[in-house]
C-alpha cells in the first residue's frame, strides 16, 4: 500500500494515548488515560479489540512484563506504536490539519 489507510477516530485516540503513556502503556492505564484526558469511557472489550486490530495492521507492537501474583500469574502486555503506526497517525492527523486550515476562527470560537 503506497499511502497508509486513514485511521478511525478511536484508533487515533488509542495511538495518541500510547505515545503519551510511553513505557506505562498497558490496557488498564490506557483505559484510565482515555477516561481522564479525553473524557472518553469505553468498555474493556472495545479497547482490547481495537488494540488487536491495530496489532493486526502492524501499527502497534507489544511485549510482556514479568507475571505477578496480584495478576494471578498472568503477564501484562505493554504496548508501543510502531514506525508504520506513527506514519499512519501522522498521515491521519495531517489530513485533519489540512481540512482544518482556515477554520480556526470557527472551531476555536468560545462558546
Amino acid at each position: 500500500m503506497a499511502t497508509p489507510a486513514f485511521l478511525g477516530q478511536f484508533e487515533q485516540m488509542v495511538l495518541l494515548s500510547l505515545l503519551q503513556l510511553g513505557d506505562e502503556a498497558h490496557a488498564i492505564s490506557i483505559r484510565r488515560h482515555l477516561a481522564e484526558r479525553a473524557n472518553h469511557r469505553i468498555t474493556r472489550g472495545a479497547l482490547y479489540r481495537t488494540l488487536d486490530r491495530l496489532d493486526a495492521k502492524g501499527y502497534v507492537d507489544w511485549e510482556t512484563d514479568e507475571p505477578t501474583p496480584e495478576r494471578g500469574g498472568y503477564a501484562r502486555r505493554r504496548f508501543h506504536v510502531t514506525k508504520n503506526g506513527l506514519a499512519a497517525l501522522r498521515a491521519s492527523q495531517k489530513a485533519i490539519d489540512q481540512l482544518r486550515r482556515g477554520l480556526d476562527a470557527v472551531l476555536r470560537k468560545p462558546s
Partner: protein, 890 residues
C-alpha cells in the same frame, strides 16, 4: 469458610473460552484480575465477584460477536466501511428499530413474552437485592470481619448460653482478642420511672466493653467504664437514641440525670447513635455488675460472648486458645464445667444464620421460575420463528447473510428481554416491599432493602444474557432454514418437526420444574396447616392477654404484690363481658424457658449431673379457667394457697409421666432446687400446654401460686364473651384505676400471639406458594402455546378428517393425547426431581416427611388438571374446524 483468593473460577473459565488464546488472552485475564482486587479492596468480595461476572460476560459477548470485516473476505470498500464503528452502531440501531416495529405489529405475542420475562427477571432481581442486603452487605460496625460471637458448646451441640463467671475467666486469660465483651442472651423488660410516667422498656445488660468492642461510640455522653462493673459503683444506664427522643424529646442535658430502673436509681451516662440497634429493639443498656444475679455464680448460664479478634489473629487460633482455657476451667470446676466449652463463630454468620434456610429456598424457587420463564419464551420464539420463516426466506433470497438474520433475530429477543426486564424492575420494587413487610424484623439490613445500582446492573445483565440465551436456539433454527423449501407452497408439518420436538422438550422441562416448585410449596403448606392445627393445650379463642409489671417502689414486699394480683383478678372478673380472668408469670407460646431444677422426694438423683428440670410458672387462682386448661385430677391453685399456707404445686401430665409413671401423684412431694432445697406437695394435675412455640413438645411443667412464688411481672389472661380486642380499653382502665404507676404492655389477643409465633413459616409458605403459582401459570401457558400451534398447523388435516366423518371425540383425543403425553413425561420427571430436592426443605418442615405421599399425589393431580384445562381449549378449537376455513388456510 475458606476464602478464595482470586476471582470466581467459573467466570474465569467462561472468559477463557471466548477470548484469544496465548499471551494476548492471558494479559486480558491478568488485567481483569488486577482490577478485581482493586474492587475487592474497596467494595468487598461479594460485589467484586459480581463485578467480575459482569465484565466476564460482557467481554465474552464482545469477543463472540462477529468481527467487523475480520473473517469474511469482502471487497475492499465493504471491509473498510464495516470497520467503521459509526456504521456498526447505525446498523445496530436499524436492527433495534426494525425489531421494535416487528414487535409492535404483534402486540399479543409481545406482551406475553415481555410479561414472562418480567416475572422471571423481576423475581430474580428482588431476591438478589434481598440476599445482597442481608448476606453480602457488611455489618454496620468497623472491621466487621474481626467480630466473633461466642456460645456454649457441649457434646449436644453449640448455641447455648455461657456462664458469666466463665466469661470473666475467658476475658482474663485469652490474648487473641482486642476486647471480649458479653451480653445477656435474652431481652427483658424493665420499668423506667422518674421524669414522666412509668413505662416498660426493652432492657439489656452487657459487660462494660460491649460498645468499645463493636467500635461504636455514644452519640452523647460517655461509654461505660470498667469500674462500673463493681458492686459498690453507682448504677448507670445507657439510652438508645429512640428512647432518648421519645422520653426526653432529645434534650441534651439528659446526661447525669437519674432514672429509676426497676425501682433502683440509675445515672444516665450516654445516648447511643440512632443507627445503633443491637440487640434489636433494645432501649436501655446496663453494665453487667458483679452483684447481678445473672452472673453471680458459675452455674447459671445467661450470656453470649461478643469479641473482637486481634488484627493478626484468626478465628481458628482464637478457638484453639479458648478451648485450652475451657479445658482448664473443666479441671478446676468439674461440678459445673464438665462438657462445657466456648464456641466461636463469625458475628455476621450468627446474625444471618436464622434467615438462611428461608433465603436459600426463595433463591432456589426464583431460579426455577426464571428457568421456566426462559423455557417458555424460547418455546414462543421457536413457534414464531416457524410462522415467519417465509419472511426470513425472502430476506435471505434478497441477499441478507445468515449472520445478518441471526443478529436481527437476537436483537429482537434481547429487546424483548430488556423491556421485560424494565417491567420486571417494577415488580421487583413491589416484591421488595412485600419482603420488607413479612421478613423477621431483626434480620440485619432488611430495613435498607431497595433497588440499588448493583441491582440495576444485575437486571440489565440478566436481561441481555437471558435474551441471548433464549433467542439463540430459535434464531439459529430460523436463520438456517432452507430458502427454497420455505418459499414453496403447500409445505407440510413434517419439515418443522425438529422445532416442534424442541418445543415439546421445553414444555416437558417447564412441567418438570413447576412440579418441583409446586411440591415444595405443597409440603410447606401441609406443614403450616399441621402447625396451625396443633392443640396448644388451651383454648386460644376470645382470650385477651397483657403484661403488667409492678415497680419496686410501690410494691416493695410480697404483701403489696399479693394484694395487687388479688384485686386486679377479682376486679376483672367483676367487669361485664368477662367470663374468667387469671394471670401467669410467662404466657404460653409467647415465652419459653424459666425451668427450675427439681426431683421427686422419694427418688433423689444419685449424681447431681443427672439432675433434671421442669418449667416453673407462677399463677393466680382462675388462670386455668381463663385459659381453659383442663384439670385432670385433684384441685387447682386457689385463694387459700397464701404465702403462709403449706406450699403446693399443680403439675402437668408430662411431669407425671416422667416422675410418677403408673402412680397417683396427688399428695406426693417434689423437691425444688439444690442449694436450699424446699419441698412442695402436688395437689392437682392439669393437661399439657406448649410453652415456647407450636412446634415445641410439651415439657414437664409446675404451676405455683403467685403468693407462694412471687413474681413482679405477670401476664393477665382474660376470657371474654365478645371479640377480645374490644376489651382492650377496659383492661387498661382496670389496671389504671388500681394504680396508674403500673405499666401495661404487650396487649394482644391470644390468637395474634400465636399468629406472630408462626410468622416466619407463614411467610415462607406464602412466598413459595406465590412462586409455585406463577410457575404453574407459565407452564400452563407454555403447554397451551404448543398445542394451539399444533392445532393451527394441522387445521387442514383436521378439517378434512372432520369433513370425512371423523367423530369429534377422535379429534379431541388426537390433540389431548399429544398434550397429555408431554404432561405425563414432565410429571414423571418432576416427581423424580422433587424427591431429589425436597430434602433441602427439611429444616422448615413440621411433622411432614420430605416425600409426603399425599402432597406428591395431590400436587401432581392439581398440575395435571391445570394442564388438561390448558390442553382443552386448543382441543375444543380443533373440533370446531370447518373444511372451508381449513382449506383457505394456505
Amino acid at each position: 469458610m475458606s476464602r478464595r483468593d482470586g476471582p470466581p473460577p467459573v467466570a474465569e473459565k467462561l472468559l477463557r473460552r471466548t477470548i484469544p488464546t496465548g499471551l494476548r488472552g492471558h494479559s486480558i485475564l491478568g488485567d481483569l484480575q488486577e482490577e478485581y482486587r482493586l474492587v475487592m479492596g474497596r467494595r468487598g468480595t461479594g460485589l467484586a465477584d459480581i463485578w467480575y461476572w459482569f465484565n466476564a460476560i460482557l467481554l465474552s459477548v464482545q469477543y463472540s460477536l462477529p468481527t467487523d470485516g475480520g473473517r469474511h473476505r469482502r471487497s475492499h470498500a465493504v471491509a473498510r466501511r464495516a470497520t467503521n464503528r459509526a456504521n456498526t452502531m447505525e446498523s445496530l440501531l436499524h436492527d433495534v428499530r426494525f425489531s421494535a416495529r416487528n414487535l409492535f405489529k404483534r402486540p399479543g405475542f409481545t406482551i406475553v413474552v415481555m410479561a414472562t420475562f418480567a416475572v422471571g427477571i423481576g423475581g430474580t432481581v428482588a431476591m438478589f437485592s434481598a440476599i445482597n442486603a442481608v448476606f453480602l452487605r457488611p455489618l454496620p460496625y468497623q472491621d466487621p470481619d474481626q467480630l466473633v460471637f461466642g456460645t456454649r458448646r457441649s457434646s449436644q451441640g453449640a448455641g447455648g448460653f455461657v456462664s458469666g463467671q466463665d466469661y470473666l475467666d475467658y476475658r482474663e486469660q485469652s490474648d487473641a482478642f482486642q476486647s471480649l465483651a458479653t451480653i445477656r442472651g435474652f431481652e427483658l423488660s424493665a420499668t423506667v420511672t422518674g421524669d414522666g410516667a412509668a413505662e416498660r422498656v426493652s432492657e439489656q445488660m452487657a459487660s462494660t466493653e460491649l460498645f468499645a468492642t463493636l467500635r461504636v461510640a455514644p452519640a452523647l455522653g460517655r461509654d461505660f467504664v470498667k469500674a462500673e462493673e463493681k458492686a459498690d459503683a453507682d448504677r448507670v444506664v445507657m439510652l438508645s437514641y429512640g428512647f432518648w427522643q421519645r422520653r426526653f424529646g432529645g434534650e441534651g442535658d439528659v446526661i447525669g440525670r437519674t432514672l429509676g430502673v426497676d425501682g433502683q436509681p440509675h445515672i444516665v451516662v450516654g445516648v447511643m447513635p440512632s443507627e445503633f440497634d443491637f440487640p434489636k429493639g433494645t432501649e436501655i443498656w446496663r453494665p453487667m455488675r458483679e452483684d447481678t444475679p445473672w452472673a453471680s455464680s458459675r452455674g447459671p448460664q445467661n450470656w453470649f460472648v461478643v469479641g473482637r479478634l486481634k488484627e493478626d489473629a484468626t478465628i481458628v487460633q482464637a478457638q484453639e486458645q479458648v478451648d485450652v482455657i475451657g479445658a482448664r476451667l473443666e479441671e478446676e470446676y468439674p461440678a459445673t464445667n464438665t462438657d462445657r466449652r466456648l464456641h466461636l463463630t463469625s458475628f455476621h454468620e450468627r446474625l444471618v444464620s436464622r434467615a438462611r434456610p428461608m433465603f436459600l429456598v426463595f433463591t432456589g424457587a426464583v431460579g426455577l421460575v426464571l428457568l421456566i420463564a426462559c423455557a417458555n419464551v424460547a418455546g414462543l420464539l421457536l413457534a414464531r420463528g416457524v410462522t415467519r420463516s417465509s419472511e426470513l426466506a425472502v430476506r435471505s433470497a434478497l441477499g441478507a447473510s445468515r449472520g445478518r438474520l441471526l443478529r436481527q433475530l437476537l436483537t429482537e429477543s434481547v429487546l424483548l428481554a430488556t423491556s421485560g426486564g424494565a417491567l420486571g424492575l417494577m415488580l421487583t420494587f413491589w416484591l421488595l416491599r412485600v419482603v420488607k413487610q413479612f421478613a423477621p424484623p431483626d434480620v440485619p439490613g432488611i430495613r435498607e432493602l431497595g433497588i440499588d445500582g448493583t441491582a440495576l446492573v444485575i437486571a440489565l445483565g440478566l436481561s441481555v444474557v437471558t435474551g441471548l440465551l433464549v433467542g439463540l436456539l430459535p434464531a439459529l433454527k430460523s436463520a438456517s432454514s432452507d430458502v427454497s423449501q420455505n418459499l414453496s407452497p403447500g409445505r407440510g408439518a413434517s419439515e418443522r418437526s425438529s422445532a416442534t420436538g424442541l418445543r415439546g422438550a421445553l414444555v416437558v422441562g417447564q412441567v418438570t420444574l413447576s412440579l418441583v416448585l409446586l411440591i415444595g410449596a405443597g409440603l410447606l403448606m401441609r406443614s403450616f396447616l399441621q402447625l396451625q392445627s396443633v392443640d396448644p393445650g388451651f383454648d386460644a379463642d376470645r382470650l385477651l392477654t397483657a403484661e403488667v409489671a409492678l415497680p419496686r417502689d410501690g410494691y416493695p414486699s410480697s404483701q403489696e404484690l399479693t394484694q395487687f394480683y388479688r384485686t386486679i383478678v377479682s376486679d376483672l372478673n367483676a367487669r361485664p363481658g368477662v367470663m374468667a380472668a387469671g394471670a401467669i408469670s410467662r404466657l404460653p407460646i409467647a415465652s419459653g424457658g424459666g425451668d427450675y431444677p427439681v426431683y421427686p422426694e422419694e427418688n433423689p438423683p444419685a449424681d447431681p449431673s443427672e439432675r433434671s428440670s421442669a418449667i416453673a410458672r407462677s399463677i393466680t387462682p382462675g388462670y386455668f379457667d381463663a385459659m381453659r386448661v383442663p384439670l385432670l385430677s385433684g384441685r387447682a391453685v386457689d385463694a387459700n394457697d397464701t404465702g403462709d399456707a403449706p406450699p403446693v404445686v399443680v403439675v402437668d401430665e408430662a411431669l407425671v409421666r416422667r416422675y410418677y409413671p403408673d402412680q397417683n401423684p396427688l399428695g406426693k412431694n417434689l423437691v425444688l432446687g439444690f442449694r436450699e432445697p424446699r419441698s412442695v406437695q402436688i395437689v392437682g394435675v392439669v393437661g399439657e400446654v406448649l410453652a415456647s412455640s407450636l412446634n415445641d413438645v410439651p415439657y414437664p411443667t409446675m404451676y405455683f401460686s403467685v403468693e407462694q412464688w412471687q413474681q413482679r411481672t405477670m401476664t393477665l389472661a382474660v376470657r371474654t364473651t365478645a371479640q377480645p380486642t374490644t376489651f382492650t380499653n377496659t383492661l387498661r382502665a382496670a389496671v389504671r384505676d388500681l394504680d396508674p404507676n403500673v405499666p401495661v404492655a404487650k396487649v394482644a389477643s391470644m390468637r395474634s400471639v400465636i399468629s406472630d409465633s408462626v410468622s416466619q413459616p407463614r411467610t415462607t409458605t406464602l412466598f413459595l406458594g406465590g412462586f409455585a403459582t406463577v410457575a404453574l401459570l407459565l407452564a400452563a401457558l407454555g403447554l397451551y402455546g404448543v398445542l394451539a400451534y399444533f392445532v393451527n398447523q394441522r387445521t387442514r388435516e383436521i378439517g378434512i378428517r372432520i369433513a370425512l366423518g371423523a367423530a369429534h371425540g377422535k379429534v379431541l383425543g388426537l390433540v389431548l393425547r399429544r398434550g397429555l403425553l408431554l404432561v405425563g413425561v414432565g410429571v414423571a420427571l418432576g416427581i423424580g426431581g422433587a424427591v431429589a430436592t425436597t430434602r433441602f426443605l427439611q429444616s422448615l418442615l413440621f411433622e411432614v416427611g420430605t416425600t409426603d405421599l399425599l402432597t406428591f399425589a395431590g400436587v401432581s393431580l392439581l398440575l395435571t388438571l391445570v394442564a388438561v384445562a390448558a390442553c382443552a381449549i386448543p382441543a375444543w378449537r380443533a373440533t370446531r374446524v370447518d373444511l372451508l376455513t381449513a382449506l383457505r388456510v394456505e
